[in-house]
Symmetry: C2
Subunit: 544 residues, 2 copies
C-alpha cells in the first residue's frame, strides 16, 4: 500500500557525542565476555526441535517412524540386501508410545552404535554426493533425543552383523550438553535373525489418521519402494488388524548408485578455496581433474590458461585472487554435464505396478525423465498418474510427493512439486482446474525426485526448494503423462458416446420391427430377420 514516509532524511554527519549515556549502569566488555560459551549442536536442536520435525506429539511420532524406516532402507540397499522392514507402534499410555523399527540390513558394527544413535551430525551420507534417503546424519539420533527429552528413556538398539556374530543390545542416551553418546547398557542377547537392526524409541506422541498419519506414510513409502516388504503393526491392533503386510512388488533391488565428485559449475568460490587447501593433488591441474567431475586434462589446462594461473602451481599456494580468477574461468569453460549413473530411478514399470496396487483406476501411466542438473547436482524426475475408477471426480486430485523414495507429507503448499502441478495447464488435458489450484478430478499423481542432494526447505524434509530447473523437469514429466491421460479421457468419452448410440439402436429397432410387422403383416421369423438386418446396417453406418 502507498505509505506516506514522514520521517525526515536528515543528511547530517553522524556525531557520536549526541548519545548521552542513560541512567542505567554501564557494563564493560569484559563483564559481558563472561557469559559467552559454546553451544552444543544437540542443545541447539533440543531447544529448536521443531526444525527437525518434532513440532508437536503427532508429528514427532511420524518423524520418528520416518527416520527409522529411512535408515533401515538405506542400510539394506547400501549393503545390497532386499529390504524387509517391520514397524511396530505400541501405545503405552494416552500420550506415550514405543516405536520399534526392525530391518534385515547388514547390522551396525558395535563401536559405531553409540555415535550413530547417540550424537547428532554423525554419519556416512553428509560428506558424499550420492543418492540416499538420509542426508544429514541427524534424523535417528534426533528421534532418540526427543524420546529421551520427553520420557527419559534411552534409545534401544539391537543389532547383529552376521550369522556367526553375537547379537548386541545397547541402550544409548545422548548427553545434549556435549552432543556425546552415553551407553547405559550393553549386553549380548539371543536373536533369531541372521543380520539386521532393531531400533526402539519411547516417546510422548499422538497417533492420528489423515493425510499426515503414519498409516498414510507407510502406504506411500511402500508405493515408492516396490522392492521392499514392509510390515506395519499399528497401535490399536484390534481396530486395524494385527499386522499389515505390504508385500514386495518387485524382487529387483535398485541398482547401486555411484558416489560422484562435485561438478565445477556448482562450486562456490569459498568452497573452491577450501578444496585447494585440502586437496592431495600436487598441482592445480591435477586438483581440477582429480577432485571434480568431468574435468579433463584439456579442460583443466584451458581453465588455468584462461585464469592466468600456471597449471603447475601448488593448490595450497593459490591466493584468494587467483582462486577467484579460476572460479570465473570455470564459469566460462565448457564442461560436460555430470555423470548420471549416480541416480537410481524407480522406473516406469514399477511405478505403474505400484500405482495399480494402490488404487483401482481405469488408466495408469508413468514416465521417468532423463537425468539433468541443478547447481551442479544431477537429479531426475519421475511422474506416475492413475486416472478414473473409484476415485472421486468432485475433489482435487491426490498428490503424492517423493524425494529419493521418501514420501513428503507436510508443507505441500511450499513444495516445488505442488508449484509445478499447479503451473501445468490441466484444462488442455481434459480436466478441470480452478485458478492457482490443483486440478479437480479422479486422479492420483505421484511425483518422485531423485538426486545426489535434494534441496529441502528444512531439515525435517517436508518440501523441495523452488529451483527453476527442478520445476521445469517436473512440468515436462506431468505434461507427458497428462497428454496420455487426455487421450484416455477423450477415448473414454467417444466410447461412452458410442455406447449411448448403441443403446438407442438396441432400444428402438425392436419397436420399429413391431411397427413393420403390423403394417406389412409379417410373421415372427421374418420380423427377426428384419431386426437383424436393420441392426447390421445401423452398426455399419455408426462405425463409419
Amino acid at each position: 500500500m502507498a505509505k506516506a514516509p514522514k520521517r525526515k532524511v536528515a543528511k547530517t554527519k553522524r556525531s557520536r557525542a549526541k548519545a548521552k549515556p542513560a541512567a542505567r549502569a554501564q557494563k564493560s566488555a569484559s563483564e559481558l565476555a563472561k557469559g559467552q560459551r559454546d553451544i552444543s549442536v544437540s542443545e541447539f536442536f533440543a531447544k529448536n526441535r521443531h526444525l527437525l520435525g518434532f513440532d508437536n506429539p503427532s508429528k514427532a511420532l511420524l518423524t520418528t517412524v520416518k527416520e527409522g524406516v529411512d535408515n533401515a532402507l538405506d542400510a539394506c540397499e547400501e549393503a545390497g540386501i532386499l529390504p524387509n522392514v517391520r514397524v511396530e507402534i505400541v501405545q503405552i499410555s494416552e500420550t506415550r508410545f514405543r516405536i520399534a523399527i526392525e530391518d534385515n540390513g547388514p547390522g551396525v558394527v558395535n563401536s559405531q552404535v553409540p555415535k550413530i544413535f547417540g550424537s547428532l551430525l554423525y554419519g556416512s551420507k553428509f560428506h558424499r554426493l550420492r543418492q540416499s534417503r538420509g542426508q544429514q546424519g541427524i534424523g535417528i539420533s534426533a528421534a532418540g533425543m526427543y524420546g529421551l527429552l520427553t520420557t527419559g528413556k534411552p534409545i534401544v538398539v539391537t543389532t547383529r552383523t552376521g550369522p556367526r556374530k553375537d547379537t548386541r543390545k545397547l541402550e544409548v542416551v545422548i548427553d545434549t550438553k556435549r552432543n556425546e553418546p552415553k551407553v547405559k547398557r550393553d549386553e549380548v542377547v539371543k536373536w533369531d535373525v541372521k543380520h539386521g537392526t532393531r531400533v526402539e524409541i519411547e516417546l510422548e506422541g499422538n497417533y492420528r489418521g489423515g493425510q499426515h498419519s503414519v498409516d498414510a506414510y507407510i502406504r506411500q513409502i511402500s508405493l515408492a519402494n516396490p522392492h521392499a516388504e514392509i510390515t506395519y503393526v499399528p497401535p490399536k491392533a484390534e481396530e486395524f488388524g494385527a499386522e499389515h503386510v505390504f508385500p514386495r512388488v518387485s524382487k529387483e533391488i535398485p541398482p547401486e548408485t555411484a558416489e560422484i565428485k562435485p561438478h565445477p559449475y556448482g562450486v562456490e568460490l569459498g568452497v573452491l578455496m577450501q578444496m585447494f587447501r585440502d586437496t592431495q593433488a600436487r598441482n592445480v591441474r591435477s586438483c581440477l581433474t582429480g577432485d571434480f567431475s568431468r574435468v579433463s586434462q584439456r579442460t583443466a589446462t584451458e581453465i588455468c590458461d584462461s585464469a592466468g594461473v600456471a597449471t603447475s602451481r601448488r593448490p595450497s599456494e593459490i591466493s584468494r585472487e587467483s582462486a577467484e580468477k579460476i572460479h570465473a574461468a570455470i564459469q566460462r569453460a565448457k564442461i560436460m554435464a555430470p555423470p548420471m549413473d549416480c541416480i537410481a530411478p524407480i522406473g516406469e514399470t514399477l511405478i505403474e505396478r505400484a500405482l495399480r496396487a494402490e488404487v483401482d483406476a481405469d488408466f495408469y501411466t508413468s514416465v521417468t525423465r532423463r537425468a539433468t542438473v541443478y547447481r551442479g547436482n544431477p537429479f531426475l524426475v519421475e511422474v506416475g498418474l492413475a486416472y478414473g475408477g473409484d476415485m472421486s471426480s468432485e475433489d482435487s486430485i491426490s498428490l503424492y510427493r517423493y524425494a529419493n523414495r521418501v514420501p513428503l507429507q507436510y508443507q505441500q503448499g511450499a513444495c516445488a512439486v505442488t508449484k509445478a502441478v499447479i503451473a501445468t495447464d490441466w484444462k488442455s488435458y481434459q480436466m478441470q482446474q480452478p485458478r492457482g489450484a490443483l486440478p479437480v478430478g479422479p486422479m492420483l499423481a505421484m511425483v518422485h525426485i531423485a538426486s545426489v542432494w535434494v534441496p529441502f526447505t528444512s531439515e525435517s524434509k517436508e518440501a523441495i526448494a523452488h529451483y527453476p530447473e527442478i520445476i521445469k523437469e517436473i512440468r515436462l514429466g506431468l505434461q507427458e503423462c497428462g497428454r496420455r491421460v487426455a487421450s484416455h479421457i477423450r477415448k473414454r468419452r467417444r466410447e461412452s458416446d458410442e455406447a449411448k448410440k448403441r443403446a438407442y439402436i438396441e432400444k428402438y429397432i425392436p419397436q420399429v420391427a413391431v411397427g413393420l410387422q403390423q403394417i406389412l403383416g409379417l410373421n415372427d421369423a421374418h420380423t427377426k430377420k428384419i431386426v437383424r438386418n436393420l441392426t447390421d446396417v445401423l452398426e455399419k453406418s455408426r462405425k463409419m
Copy 2:
C-alpha cells in the same frame, strides 16, 4: 479425496526367508562403517544455508544486515549504552557488496572476537532465559561464513573496549570443517571512537527494494527501537542521498531485563532429569527452589510429597521413575506465574511516537498488554495502530511484525501475528475485511512480541509459531486498539455528516434571504439580520 485402497492387508506372520538377496554384491557392516564420520555444525549450515536465511543473494544481503544490527543493539543495551548504529552498504560489482555495521557499544574483548565471529553456536544468549534479539549464537558468524563461501574474504572486526584501550582490527575466517575460527590478521589501528565495534563482511548479494528490502528493514527496526539512532548509507548514494539518519525519538534506554530461571510448568521430563544430574543443590527440595522460578519451600515440599519422593534425596540419585513422578506432581501443583520483570516492552507512548514519525495518519493508538506465559516462558504483546491520512483505503492494511524489537519481513503468511490479525473481526470495527484475509483500509498495524524465548518457526527468524496463548494475546491487543479506531471512524463519520449539513445551511440560507428580501421588500441590513437569525436557529436545531 476418497481413495479405493486395493493393496490387500495380508495378515501373515512375517517371514524373513522370503527375501532373497539380489544379484548385487552384498557389503558388510564393517565395510559400511568406514564411511561414518563427524559432521561439523558449520559444514551442516554451509550446505543448508537457506535454513539461516541465506537462500538467495537478496535475502543473504538482508540477513547479514539484520544479524549485524541485532548484535549491535543487543550489545549496547546489555552494556547500558544508548545505541548509535551505522549501516553501510557499498556495491563493489554487480553481484558483490561490502556491508559494514558499526556501533558505539562496549566493544568485544580481544580473546572473544575469533569465537564470536568465526564459529557457529557460540554466545551468551542461548543458555539464559532473557529477552534479547539474538537467541542462538549463530547469526553473525553465519553471515561471515556466507561471505567467506561466496567471496573468499574474511570477516573484519574492528573493536575498542574503552578510551584507554587499543583499537584492534582482526580478520577472521571460519574453518567450516572444524567449526573453528582462524585469525588471518590482528593489528592495532587508530580509531576516533571511545568504544564500539565495526563488523565488515563482503558477500555475493543483491540489493533490491520492496517489502523485503534492507531499506524497509531499517525503517522498521528504527520504529521499534526509538531509543536508537540509526544511520544508513545505502549502496547507491547518488540515488538515495548520502546518508539517512533515523534520529533517536527517546533518550530513555530500555530497562535492563532480568534473566529468569525456567518455570516448572514448561520443563519436560528429560530436561528435569538433566537438571537433577547437573544441579549444585544437595537435595531435591533445594534443587526445586533454587533452579526453578516460583518454587517456594512449601511448594517444593508439596511436590515431593505428592510424588512420594523424600525432599532430602540427592538429586543425582533420583531415578527415572522418581523423576517421572516429580514431573507429574509439578503439573498437579499450583505454582505462581513466572516473574514478568524479565520483559521490557517498548511502551504505549513510544509506540505512538514512533508511528507518528512513520506515517501521517489521522489517528494513532497503542496498547501494551500485561505479560503472560506460554510453555512456562513469559511474554508480552504490544499493538500500535495508525489510521487514515495519506494511506490508501483500497489496499490491505500494512502489517509490521516484531519479535523482541526485531522486524520480521519474510513468511508473513506463516506467522502467528498474521493469523491473529486475520482472525480478528475488523468489520465490527468499521473496516472492510475479505474472508480469511487482512482487513482493507488506510491503516498501519504494528505488533510486537517480547519474550525471554521467542518461538520462531525457523532459525532465520521469519515467523512466530502458532502458540494459542500468543495468538490470544495478540487478538486481545488488536481488539482493544480496534475499538478505539472504530470510535474514531464513527466520530469522523458524524463530523463529516455535520459538516455536510452545515454546508447545506451555508449554501441555502443566503438564497432564502434573497427570496424573503424580494417578497417582503426588505433593505440589505434587514436581510443580513434575517440571515444571521436563521443561521442561529438552524445551528441550534442541528445541535440538538
